[in-house]
């Protein structure tokens, strides 16, 4: 059976890996919850490193990412030296905003650590204007990892 026959071959997501370090943990040895937020932001920025893609040349140094909504669910603790995988999918892609869904798992046993959701828009910090999403960003970055949130196994 060829791998392409498996449904997994059609599933798409952006993944970012990191290891829990000494600086992430509390005196009790587990990562503080606030780090989950920070890890989501790191994964988001890795995904959107090309956010200037498609913006006018004049705007490229004036674009900032704005999170207009954020939700995080704690499922279990992450411990020192745990390898973490953050899976990112996009959802609800509109003209000037989109949603990112984060699934944070521990690599060793694939246990769910946290679920997260961020609604994102781009703002011209000089003018304060919310910018339309450039088509290349939609087509090349967001669409390939798009899911329908209401159909997903987990509720974010």
């Amino acid at each position: 059976m060829a791998p392409a026959d498996f449904s997994a071959a059609k599933q798409k997501e952006f993944t970012y890996s990191l290891v829990v370090t000494q600086g992430d943990i509390t005196p009790y040895g587990s990562a503080s919850f606030v780090n989950y937020v920070r890890w989501y932001n790191i994964a988001r920025d890795a995904l959107l490193q090309w956010r200037a893609l498609g913006f006018d040349e004049s705007l490229k140094n004036s674009v900032e990412t704005e999170v207009s909504f954020c939700n995080i669910q704690y499922k279990r603790e992450a411990m020192l030296q745990d390898e973490i995988i953050i899976k990112v999918n996009s959802s609800e892609i509109k003209d000037n905003e989109f949603t990112l869904l984060f699934t944070l798992i521990e690599k060793g046993n694939a246990l769910l650590i946290s679920l997260g959701k961020q609604k994102i828009e781009f703002r011209n910090f000089k003018s304060g204007e919310i910018l339309a999403l450039p088509q290349p960003l939609i087509k090349d970055v967001l669409k390939p990892i798009e899911v329908d949130e209401k159909n997903l196994l987990f509720k974010y």
Binding site: F6, Q11, A110, D148, N151, F154
Partner: protein, 126 residues
């Protein structure tokens, strides 16, 4: 009669969601959270499909499927289709699923509409 599906996963959130989903769709779903319990259930009753997580403590999904197949072979029972699910997909787990020749392989978080399609397709292979 409703098709009987055995779901094996150590993630409570997953087994509860999948159990509710399968029940809503008219399947008779039995959920367990370890490979050992899965083998006990298979010995107790007949199933039409097994859905198993790959990564589980003690007995992983690959071994669970191998053991179930061995039980069927020894007891001259008809083999049933299997679906493997995993928290994240690696080339190694893809290769393992391919070598095992399971009916399908999917990773979390999956689309439940896709999952139900996979279940239907896999049941037809039984």
């Amino acid at each position: 009669m409703a098709k009987k599906i055995l779901v094996v996963d150590d993630e409570e959130l997953v087994i509860e969601s999948v159990r509710r989903l399968l029940k809503r769709e008219g399947y008779d779903a039995t959920v367990v959270n370890s490979g050992k319990q899965a083998l006990d259930k298979v010995r107790e009753g007949d199933f039409d499909l097994v859905v198993s997580d790959i990564r589980m403590p003690e007995l992983d999904g690959i071994q669970v499927i191998k053991n179930i197949r061995e039980y069927f072979r020894q007891n001259k029972k008809k083999a049933i289709p299997e679906i493997l699910i995993t928290g994240y997909s690696t080339p190694e787990s893809f290769k393992q699923a391919q070598e095992l020749r399971v009916a399908d392989y999917i990773y979390k978080p999956f689309d439940i509409i896709d999952f139900l399609e996979v279940v239907k397709k896999s049941l037809k292979k039984g």
